[in-house]
Amino acid sequence: MRPVLYVLSFLALIALGFWAYRENYATQAALKEVQSLQRQIAGLREALSIQKAEWAYLNRPDRLRELATVNFDRLGLLPMEPGQFGSAAQVSYPRARLPEIDFPVDVQGQAFEGEGL
């Protein structure tokens, strides 16, 4: 009985060692992946901030003003004027369209029938 117990516990020890070894390497792989993902995130963030800066640079008021002047023929953009305010009543709403009558049903006299007269 006793030798069997010894062998079993030894096998259990080997199994546990193997498990710990695998876990260790899996953890290290996961950490490495996290690190590389974080590096990727940092890179993307950096790219994003540069793109934001470029967007701001391309949309700077000086440049937009120049572009509006150069492309005046096509766009016809002018600075906003007080006279351009309108009132809500000036907006023409599309006319509400009534649904068409598909199946006309004559309902005259039905009420009387229902009351059993």
Partner: protein
């Protein structure tokens, strides 16, 4: 095996020998006790040993771990929380709508290790080709004089970096840098100020603010906990650009040396636009002037709106009128003595171009016609002490609390003594100097129904509280008077249909450094409030040494210079702020009280 205490054989033997058998029993008992004691001692010793070993192991493990932790270099825990900010950088600055005013860009710095350089001379020549501002001879000297480290360039563009790579010398190295970028160029340059590198290392460099809000709020911008949150200013990018455009055009047309404009929300104290011309590019901040004789205002770095402390001229008259009404000394229609010239001691108080609006003028007309004498009489009714207290309440005795590093340095110039002649001159804006920002804050108090709100460059959330400096009725009457200045008085060019501009002009001669005043150099100011029926915004326009010579006669009064510029600004900017023009009700004929 247990030995009996009284073995029969020995007892019998002892009895036979005539000895006491009890002795045998005692002897055996002693032996047994001795054996028992031996056994328990061995067990205790064994236990102590185990305990000792385990304690040694435990403390040894803790000690070893501590030693290990102390000896190894610290490392960042790798599995940190997701979403943690990775780039510790200076926070962005945005306008009130989130459009970027200042952000960061990664770039590289170039440095050299001359000791590992293969060809110092050739490298120096090639570097000078890439960077024309570097002197190849000086560079070569620095490469060969035995030092082991040389900074070459603080910031490189990617193209330049590629060219340096192509030199291929192992002694040339790059360090990552974070650079401050102002994508809008000169826009709001005086507010933003600028940055430079502080402590520099190979792997990183500190970016520190050198002027403007970058320096004033440096700690907030560098705070790693708030790095992801941009600093939101009260400025509006489009409005700022428009004001700059119009002001620049006005400044050029009127041949002015400089100009400043402040647009402020009277209700919240937020500065929507702050312009000072000439301006500069904060990406490439010019050096301050070194010439001792140069006036500070000659440098483009000088913020005229905040640092420029000028005598603001007749724009001050409304304060005398408002205080007179607040104290119940005068009403809008009270007639005051306006007989010019007024003699006070050795001084003669004259009107513009020696006119005489007198002998009597209503307070409203004193403001509308900008009568110095009329204002002087109101100020004398108020008296020096009350006048000082009122101006102090309006913030004219302290630097403005604006979030700019330049603001605390711009102290108003207050006369040390306050005799009655100072009371008289101060009432029409001479003898004491303040910045346009002070004027904006004081006019905002009038526009805001008499409640003084501290001006700010940061976007304000929620309700604002202020200090009441005059009653609502007085403030309303004052705005009405200012409106009369535009409809019937000196600022008739300020009329913008639909926006009911109310304001006051001011023309002050520039003081000479040597004392006295210039005859042909003036500062023109127009302080305005709009729309008059429900004042929301305050606009101050200041022009430095303008000259209108569109007509035959050269004109230097604010009514011909600052006023048209201000009206154009309002015409362009008010729609951008979503302010709807409204048709003014036709003027009701004044009802005259008639007594029987």
């Amino acid at each position: 095996m247990r030995t009996p205490l009284r073995p029969l054989a020995r007892i019998l033997q002892a009895r036979a020998d005539g000895l006491n058998p009890d002795q045998i029993e005692r002897e055996n008992l002693r032996l047994r006790h001795e054996a028992m004691r031996e056994k328990s001692r061995a067990r205790a010793e064994f236990r102590l040993l185990i305990l000792c070993v385990s304690f040694v192991c435990a403390f040894g493990a803790i000690g070893a771990r501590m030693g290990l932790m102390a000896a190894t270099t610290p490392v960042e825990p790798r599995a940190s929380a997701p979403g943690a900010e990775i780039l510790a950088q200076r926070a962005d600055i945005t306008d009130r709508n989130g459009r970027i005013l200042a952000t960061n860009m990664t770039t590289h710095a170039l440095y050299a290790h001359p000791k590992v350089m293969v060809d110092p001379k050739g490298t120096a020549l090639k570097l000078a080709e890439i960077f024309p501002d570097l002197d190849p001879a000086a560079l070569e000297r620095r490469f060969t004089d035995g030092r082991s480290f040389v900074w070459i360039k603080k910031v490189l563009s990617p193209e330049q970096m590629q060219l340096v790579h192509e030199i291929g010398d192992p002694g040339l190295l790059f360090g990552p840098r974070e650079m401050r970028l102002y994508p809008n160029g000169t826009l709001a340059a005086h507010v933003l100020g600028g940055t430079s590198f502080g402590a520099e290392g190979v792997h990183s460099a500190e970016v520190i603010g050198t002027a403007g809000i970058e320096k004033a709020l440096d700690a907030r911008l560098r705070d790693p906990a708030q790095a992801g949150k941009p600093l939101i200013l009260s400025l509006d990018l489009s409005i700022q650009a428009t004001v700059e455009e119009v002001l620049h055009a006005g400044m050029t047309m009127l041949n002015a040396k400089g100009a400043a404009a402040i647009l402020m929300d009277a209700r919240t104290g937020e500065i929507i636009s702050l312009v000072s011309l000439p301006n500069f590019d904060p990406n490439d901040r010019p050096n301050p002037l070194v010439d001792k004789n140069a006036e500070p205002g000659d440098s483009p770095l000088f913020n005229r709106a905040v640092q420029g402390v000028y005598e603001l001229g007749s724009t001050f008259k409304i304060f005398a009128a408002a205080q007179g009404m607040e104290l119940g000394l005068v009403g809008p229609e009270t007639l005051v003595d306006a007989n010019a010239p007024m003699i006070w001691g050795r001084h003669r108080i004259k009107e513009f171009e020696g006119k005489n609006y007198g002998p009597l003028l209503s307070v409203t007309d004193v403001i509308a016609k900008s009568s110095n004498v009329g204002t002087a009489h109101i100020a004398l009714m108020i008296g020096p002490l009350r006048q000082q207290a009122f101006l102090k309440a309006l913030g004219f005795f302290e630097p403005t609390p604006l979030e700019l590093i330049e603001a605390p340095g711009a102290r108003p110039l207050i006369p040390k003594k306050w005799p009655e002649i100072v009371t008289i001159t101060t009432s029409y804006g001479h003898g004491m100097s303040a910045s346009p920002m002070h004027l904006a804050a004081a006019y905002a108090a009038i526009a805001n129904g008499g409640v003084m709100i501290k001006p700010t460059l940061l976007k304000r959330e929620g309700a604002t509280t202020g200090v009441r400096v005059m009653s609502e009725a007085t403030a309303m009457e004052s705005v009405k008077m200012l409106r009369r200045v535009v409809t019937e008085g000196t600022a008739s060019l300020a009329e913008v249909p639909g926006y009911e501009v109310a304001g006051k002009t001011g023309t002050a001669d520039k003081p000479k450094k040597t004392g006295g005043y210039y005859d042909d150099k003036v500062i023109n100011t127009f302080a305005s409030v709009f729309p008059a029926s429900n004042p929301q915004y305050v606009l101050i326009v200041t022009l430095d040494e303008p000259l209108d010579n569109t007509l035959s006669q050269a004109r230097r009064t604010a009514g011909w210079t600052a006023v048209p510029v201000a009206s154009e600004i309002i015409r362009r900017v008010a729609p951008l702020m979503g302010l709807r023009p409204k048709l003014e009700p036709p003027a009701v004929d004044a009802v005259t009280a008639a007594s029987n």
